[in-house]
Assembly symmetry: C2
Homo-oligomer: 80 residues x 2
């Protein structure tokens, strides 16, 4: 809900578009945020695009590189 509030604040401040990004296990939370925003709080906001990707992240413990999935959900005010 903190993320939802942060997005709503940005919209109230006149922003037309927001991008919600997340990596790894937080991906499902980013989807939740986008869904709560568009379905409950700001029905004039639509999902303009979703992209998924892979990022290389260095492990703090072993120092080795590992691949982590990421998501970017673009939300747009008044998009069709």
């Amino acid at each position: 809900m903190a993320y939802v509030l942060a997005c709503l604040t940005q919209i109230q401040n006149g922003s037309d578009g927001i991008t919600v990004k997340a990596r790894g296990n937080s991906i499902s939370r980013a989807v939740d945020v986008a869904q709560i925003l568009t379905k409950r709080f700001a029905t004039d906001i639509k999902i303009a695009g979703i992209a998924i990707n892979t990022e290389q992240v260095k492990s703090n413990i072993t120092g080795s590189m590992s691949n982590v999935s990421s998501i970017e959900i673009k939300l747009q005010k008044g998009a069709p």
Copy 2:
């Protein structure tokens, strides 16, 4: 990896398109599956579309309804 293997099997059997679906916390795993498939095992397969949605799920414990986010990742053979 079991899901990746299941997808690969379907492709080998002549399927042109697969849809990976997940709900709730498994959403990030669906993204992982799609990324591993397209980047490592089947580079001729591209992501044709991603949709997110909200589903009503009845709790087994309390019997009440709750909203759960879901994702659908469409993978297509030879898509642009």
